[in-house]
Amino acid sequence: MKTRLSAILIFIGPALAIMTIFILIPIALSLLISVTDFNVYAIFDWRNASFIGFQNFVDLFLDSIFWKALFNTFYALGVAMPLTIIFSLLFALLLNRGATHFKSFFRLSLYLPSITNTVAIAVVWAWLLNPRYGLLNWFLGIFGIPGQNWLSDPKWAMPSIIALVVWKAIGPNMLLFLAGLQNIPDFLYEAAELDGANRWKQFLHVTLPSLRPQMLFVSVMLVIGYLQLFEEPYMLTKGGPLNSTISIVLYLYKQGFYQFNFGYASAVAVVLFGIILTLTAIQMRLRKYQE
């Protein structure tokens, strides 16, 4: 029996209407704006924008700051993603041991950073990393290690941001791995043990292959998430020093809402979208290949 049209409209209609206005139409608009010179004069009268073809994309290609933003974003992704996966998996393994005590306490403390507000905790991190009065330099000083100007040294600014990003990301990914670990049947380990496999071999040949679905999910989500890096550099460095921490989204935001170059900023958004789509597609393809 088919459902009455009125019921369909009442139940699915509102969500679809809002999605159309605030997601579907904007996606189309975004593509459209990216091929115009839409700027501050066009905000109140869209007719002041005119079609300029792919000029924005050509300009982007020649824009050294944009390349810097691309580089920084991939630098953050390339360092933060493996670190997040290694730490999340390590803690999941430690918490999955039968003989580990205070499990729920450790699980809670590892998870807490991830739900706290990034903006607020970034303010705290800026204080921890303060070169003169910060806890970190004091702590390093105990061991005789010289402190650094963490956020104002171009060499250290990005690693500082990555530290905050990883610190926040461990919790939920650890929980995902933990759920995966608990689903691995005991007999697999028993069989491996009978075959004389030591614990390292068991980890390589039983644990890791069994975690493949979680690994894929985690890495896809991390790629998508880290490519959208924004709040941490916005709060800690505003993209500086010397653009050493400007990310793609931060550059988009600055072009869009400091300078109101909406056309140019939309081109940045389109490129970001293209990168995310491509990387996600590659990861999916790899997964099929593995199976």
Partner: protein, 277 residues
Amino acid sequence: MKRKKIPLTEQLGVHTILFAAFLVMAIPFFWMVSTSFKNPDEIYIFPPRWIPHRPTLSNYIELFESVDFARPLLNTIIVAVVSTFLSVMLSAMAGYGFAKFRFRGKEKLFLMVLATLMVPGQMTLIPVYLILNSMNLLNTYAGLILPGVASAFGIFFMRQFIMSIPDELIDAAKIDGAKEFFIFLKIILPLSKPALATLTIFNFVGAWNSFLWPLIVATDEKMYTLPVAISVVQGQYGEKIALQMSGSFIVIIPIIIVFLFAQKYIIKGLSMTGMKF
């Protein structure tokens, strides 16, 4: 399985690593709270003092009296509560429709909803700003709330859950003459409580912590949300570290309280999303 004896060194090593991780996770929170109760002269002491000798509430008082943190606090509560409620209701309704209704084109429509998950939010930032501007919704609650309430993830999540409710229950109600609305209220919603609770918490945490959207929609001080306000405080009161810490504490503490009460839903929800993939 026989229990093997675990070497003491391994036990010691594992717990040391976990304790070190606990310290790394906890110290920023501890330091935030400690600093927020310090007088200015105790902040710039080296080596740092873990517990303030003369704790003071003056930073919190200043935060509400001269910075007027009450307004962003109120705004954030309104936006988070209303948008969570709307988002969960819309997700449950659409999820029910996609799970149980029978009509042509349903699968295609659902695929289209899912496809929006691939699009990063920044892609719609500028167009939505322009749309809100043309509707005169910048710096309004509606502008802060509406763009985020229809979530593909929420619809997907509710659909997956409602699909597991047996059709027989619904058919039996239909034979008794019940309409979709009645079925939704009396059968679907009560049976979906765990999923609704999980989604509510996820949405609330997300709405409370949201930053980039309020940053562009709320440019008028009166409409600031807490994260926007704290970022402004950091810019304007760069020297007043204790004031910044007390502000951060106020932004963070409600979510920690919500989390402590709702831990099991968050953990269950997370493992559900991971498994379905």
